[in-house]
Amino acid sequence: MPSALEHVAWEACLVEPHSDKGLEAYARRKVGIPVPSIKFFVPVPWLARALVDLHPEYGLLVHLDQNVADLITLVVSQENSCRFCYAAQRAMLWGLGMSEARIQRVEQELNENLAPRTTAAIAFGRSQSRSGPARARDARQALRRAGFSDDEMKEIAFTTAATDFLNRAYTIPAIPVRPLERMPDQLRMRLLRPLIKRLLEKHRSRGQMSAPERTPASPYSRLIETYAGSPIAAALGRTVEEMLASSHLKPRCKLLMFAIIARGLGCEADALEIGEALEREGLDKPTLMRVLTHLDAPELDDIERLLVRFARETIWYDSAMLQRRARALLDRLSVPQFLEAAGVASLANGLCRMAPMVMEQP
């Protein structure tokens, strides 16, 4: 079953897999089947957990139709040329019982023959991935015209942003794609397909609203609060909190990466919130301005200088070029630092793309 992205250049994997029974069991509990790719992220547990916690398939969406969410994931992964996520989404559809012909029809019909609501949701995913939040207002109006409620629109924004995050997290370290692309062709997998289907269906759950939890005080707390009561708020809050608490990179370095990506995407509101957090970390305003304007300042240390420049590479990219630039980082960073940097940049891209869509007043 050839994937439409099989021709996209994809470098050899930049990191080695490691075994961690706890994390592997965590992923298996959420997804229903073993998730071998999690082994590549073991040195940075918050990132490994976020890859399953923020996946729109597993208990996060309350209002949005799951089939629409699936199509958004497919389209955004295609736009971002993420061979891994595209193949994973195809493999999941196959695992759920869709025939090869039906999957190909779904891919072909992404541009036509869809209900107007689905078309509008797909167009939003495409526009966010191509143009970033610059056209958020137009995109939101188009969704409203198509009849989506505010809650559905927020979940569309989350699904797109989560896919943007997943795409980068798997692309930057060039996680191997062949096993996923070849999965439906393997006899073993074909024989196990009915079991895979049962397990996937069992774990592919809808979310439920609950009493709002405490939102951790961090940049993006205002964004997280807009999802109060939704499982998305809890998943996002936990991920941001764990990301900032992780010790492979300094908090100031991570916040600088966030600030650069916010600036690159034109998210002024985000830049302000991150700027305040950076001031608390001891970075003065003139230095921040200089970093935001020229990607450098004498006050930065070597790792910050390196990662500030790398962060901007993750905003718009060609997969193979991004992976080559990422490979160069490994000469200067340890593997946990590298993976944490990849996770921070990926998360920042997701959050910065989501914020203007859900936080701007209509």
Partner: protein
């Protein structure tokens, strides 16, 4: 009572049906494979076209073809335009064999394109031996001015290395002139219904082209406008050139020669 004749007839009928179904299945499988191949070829074609125009524009062009009532909207935006020219190309083209000349000029194009790719520039068009490139015209890029000058410096280095190769092959050395300006313009698909290209047009591109011609007057290889200089990082080493009149502009134009870039030293070091 079913006799042997009826059984044989039923068996033959069943066999014919099975063969027909098998053929149908084989044909459907072959058609699906052809469809998948065509789909992959189309995707590859779209990727290839992305080298000629931004991927988003290619996608829009496809939609434009499907839904002929949709027309591409042009956008007014501020971007950075660069004009690169091969100095002394006319004289060189008279001296060299066409095949050798093509080899030399393709090597030059390749190096310039690589430098642009590396620094997030986009080739707008090849104009004879010149190249028009844009920074920040397709996707927002708040660092487009620094990127453009870093790309120009990378071109300087690449051409220097290329000249070593050319000398080794007993071919003439080449030199380039680069002009860069930043300002407003119109971005979008420009051209007739038969042939269109993605372009950033307006005063900024014209001024970049004129500034490029000033490299011969000032005997330097990289010149930037006052507007671009104002947006540059302080680590770039620039030299102010005397104002010069240029065609199409009322006032003499002040330019700055780019001499190099110094590393930002960490205060913590």
């Amino acid at each position: 009572m079913i006799g042997p004749v009826e059984t044989a007839a039923a068996f033959i009928l069943f066999a014919i049906l099975a063969v027909a179904l098998y053929h149908q299945w084989r044909q459907a499988k072959r058609l699906r494979a052809q469809l998948a191949t065509a789909d992959a070829a189309l995707e590859r074609l779209q990727q290839t076209c992305s080298r000629l125009a931004p991927a988003g524009i290619v996608q829009q062009l496809i939609v434009d073809e499907i839904q002929s009532d949709i027309r591409l909207a042009a956008e007014r935006k501020v971007a950075t335009a660069m004009f690169v020219d091969l100095v002394g190309f006319s004289a060189m083209s008279e001296r060299l064999d066409p095949e050798v000349l093509l080899r030399v000029i393709n090597g030059y194009y390749q190096r310039i394109s690589d430098a642009l790719d590396e620094h997030r520039g986009h080739v707008g068009s090849f104009v004879g031996d010149g190249i028009v490139a844009y920074f920040g015209a397709i996707q927002p890029n708040p660092w487009e001015c620094d990127d453009a000058v870093r790309a120009a410096l990378a071109m300087r280095t690449a051409i220097r290395e290329y000249n070593v190769e050319l000398e080794r092959d007993e071919l003439p050395r080449i030199a380039i002139g680069i002009g860069i300006d930043r300002g407003p313009g119109l971005a979008g698909l420009v051209g007739s219904s038969e042939r269109r290209e993605y372009a950033f047009i307006g005063r900024t591109v014209n001024l970049a082209a004129r500034i490029q011609t000033l490299t011969r007057i000032h005997h330097v290889d990289i010149l930037v406008s006052e507007a671009l200089r104002a947006a540059l990082a302080p680590e770039f080493i620039l030299a102010r050139m005397p104002p010069e009149p240029v065609k199409g502009f009322a006032d003499p134009v002040v330019t700055y020669a780019v001499q190099g870039v110094q590393p930002v030293l960490s205060r913590q070091a």
